[in-house]
């Protein structure tokens, strides 16, 4: 979970003011020991956290990179040593047809999920801003309920709703004369299966986007919008020329986070397919996981994970540059 930018400026160091204050009161220099303590104290405060982060994040990152250059199988797990094989894992990945299929599938999946999440989240945020007090409270509470639903729980609910025999979805769609959905198995075909998985992901992601954007919207000065409306701007123009540019920083943060989250979707697929997803359902994270933990090829799995992180950052970077360019041309 990431936090947005906090107010960085406007909080000058405590050290400086404290030193000035005590000098005024006591009018004497502090002893050397006390001053040394003062200089050292931030480092002492920081040390435990820094140590833990190095141990549980820094070292694993290094190990991941090293593993990706090693032949590291189940036997290596016992001997605790892998064999250095240079770039072999990577050349194997890039020659693997399956890799390219999975990569493409992951890109499409991410694009669809991020797009749907952002569009629907924005629409709901705009709706929230125009609702009456009661409805707004009701909808916000509803969104928070959804936000709080654990992924494992959400997957089980959706599996139950799309159950081919007694699922409420098939019954409803049939009653609404969308078609004959009786006994339709949604997961039999990867396309409809991915539709369900997308629904789970987007449903779970909308509240965060909608509530955050609504919080941002409520900070947009009402005078600006009113002035534009008096000048005859249409609702779409107000959004395009006033609200959106003002909220651009929030849009950038939310979309980047969504890309990062959706690119590594694992739980939804793993659980929706009963811990044994068919190859048609593999995304990058599933591919890497299966190679490592099901086939015991930890080195190969690590190489896939490195490629996944690289591709993810590339996607985020390309998107960010696009957004910044859009901001500049305005």
């Amino acid at each position: 979970m990431s936090q947005g930018p906090g107010g960085e400026a406007g909080f000058p160091a405590m050290t400086a003011t404290a030193a000035a204050g005590s000098a005024m009161i006591r009018r004497r220099r502090r002893p050397v020991a006390e001053r040394a303590f003062h200089v050292l104290s931030p480092y002492l405060l920081l040390a435990p956290a820094a140590l833990v982060i190095v141990a549980v994040l820094g070292y694993p990152l290094y190990l991941l990179t090293r593993l990706s250059f090693e032949q590291f199988g189940l036997a290596s797990l016992i001997t605790k040593k892998g064999t250095w094989i240079g770039l072999d894992n990577y050349s194997r990945i890039f020659q693997d047809r399956q890799f390219w299929t999975v990569l493409l599938r992951t890109f499409v999946f991410t694009a669809v999920n991020v797009g749907l999440t952002m569009v629907l989240g924005t629409l709901i945020a705009l709706l929230l801003a125009r609702l009456g007090r009661f409805m707004r409270l009701l909808l916000t509470t509803g969104l928070v309920l959804v936000w709080a639903t654990p992924v494992i729980v959400a997957v089980n609910i959706f599996r139950w709703m799309v159950d081919y025999e007694f699922g409420v979805l098939n019954w409803t769609l049939t009653k609404l004369h969308v078609g004959d959905f009786l006994n339709k198995d949604w997961f039999a075909d990867p396309t409809t299966g991915f539709a369900v998985i997308t629904a789970i992901v987007v449903w779970g992601a909308i509240p965060f986007v909608a509530i955050t954007l609504y919080a941002g919207l409520s900070q947009v000065p009402a005078e600006l919008v009113e002035a534009a409306e008096i000048d005859g701007a249409r609702r779409w123009q107000v959004f395009k020329d006033i609200t959106f540019p003002l909220l651009l920083p929030i849009f950038v943060i939310l979309t980047s986070l969504s890309i990062i989250w959706d690119f590594q979707v694992f739980n939804q697929i793993w659980l929706a397919r009963g811990s044994e997803p068919e190859e048609e359902y593999w995304l990058m994270s599933v591919y890497s996981f299966v190679e490592a933990f099901k086939l015991g090829e930890y080195g190969f799995g690590a190489a896939i994970a490195v490629v996944m992180v690289g591709a993810m950052f590339l996607a985020t970077f390309v998107y960010l540059r696009q957004m910044i360019r859009m901001g500049e041309t305005r």
Binding site: P60, G132, F313
Partner: protein, 276 residues
């Protein structure tokens, strides 16, 4: 004028529609968990449970290992939250209240590590723990959870600390209080709501985690609630009633905590992002 009224009704109806669509899955879980078996497996779905029964909950909590996994989840989450809050608060103090060499670099580090996907780290973490002999141990999972809980704890607490006006502390010190005295009497009470909100959020994230617990804990009596819930499907097919009851029980603590804190989190995220 009447067009405006119509518009207003239309907007609120749209709001109601979105509410129903979004909340329905959660409602369906709760409703199913209170239904009798034959009403769950009926060709025409029953939209309101009648008669209401608690037998699904009874079934769920009497399943094998239920109390073990609840205890494990509470233990893991308690340890992770306690440790993260203490260590994270110290680091947040340093970042928010001191100016020192390397501060900027540390802030970048804290933000950067939150971008690293957990799914990519699971392989090296697993190998690291298996070398240390900590797989299939709760302590191994606790250490691993710090990977994603600690950085965000530091960041959120720093935000809360920055929100406290400097003048309050200075006033206390001018009044003859020591720096430590000012900290205990002024800063700590002011940051207490922030500490509560952050611990709640850390609780939720750790409580919901699935993948690490799933990979690292093999014995059924050592697993967490989410892993136990994921293994609910039996050979005979899925027992939807008890499963939905168990899901409701899993989600319940999170729902309660989330309703308490969501305002702080949502506004904390965007504070300062828009300057009108």
């Amino acid at each position: 004028m009447s067009r405006r009224v119509a518009g207003r009704i239309g907007i609120n109806l749209a709001g109601l529609f979105v509410f129903v669509v979004m909340v329905f899955p959660v409602y369906w879980m709760v409703a199913t968990s209170f239904k009798e078996g034959h009403n769950i497996l009926s060709d025409t779905p029953q939209f309101f449970p009648s008669p209401v029964t608690l037998s699904n909950f009874d079934d769920a909590i009497h399943r094998a290992f239920f109390w073990d996994v609840v205890k494990n989840s509470l233990l893991i989450v308690g340890a992770v939250v306690g440790f993260s809050i203490v260590v994270g608060f110290l680091a947040a103090l340093a970042l928010a209240k001191f100016r020192f060499y390397g501060r900027g670099a540390f802030i970048v580090l804290i933000l950067g590590v939150q971008m690293v996907p957990l799914n990519a780290l699971i392989i090296p973490l697993y190998i690291q723990l298996s070398r240390a002999g900590l797989t299939n141990e709760l302590s191994g999972v606790i250490i691993t959870y710090l990977t994603f809980v600690l950085p965000f704890t530091v960041w959120t607490l720093r935000g809360f600390l920055l929100g406290i006006p400097r003048e309050l502390e200075e006033a206390a010190m001018v009044d003859g209080s020591t720096r430590f005295g000012a900290f205990v009497r002024i800063l700590l009470p002011l940051v207490a709501p922030g500490l509560v909100a952050t611990s709640n959020f850390a609780f939720i994230v750790a409580w919901n985690e699935f993948l690490i617990a799933y990979v690292f804990l093999n014995d059924p009596e050592k697993q967490t609630l989410t892993v136990w819930l994921a293994g609910f499907t039996t050979q005979r097919g899925t027992d939807w009633g008890p499963l939905m009851a168990a899901a409701t029980l899993t989600a319940l603590p999170v729902l309660v905590f989330f309703l308490l804190i969501h305002r702080k989190i949502a506004f904390g995220l965007t504070a300062g992002a828009v300057r009108g």
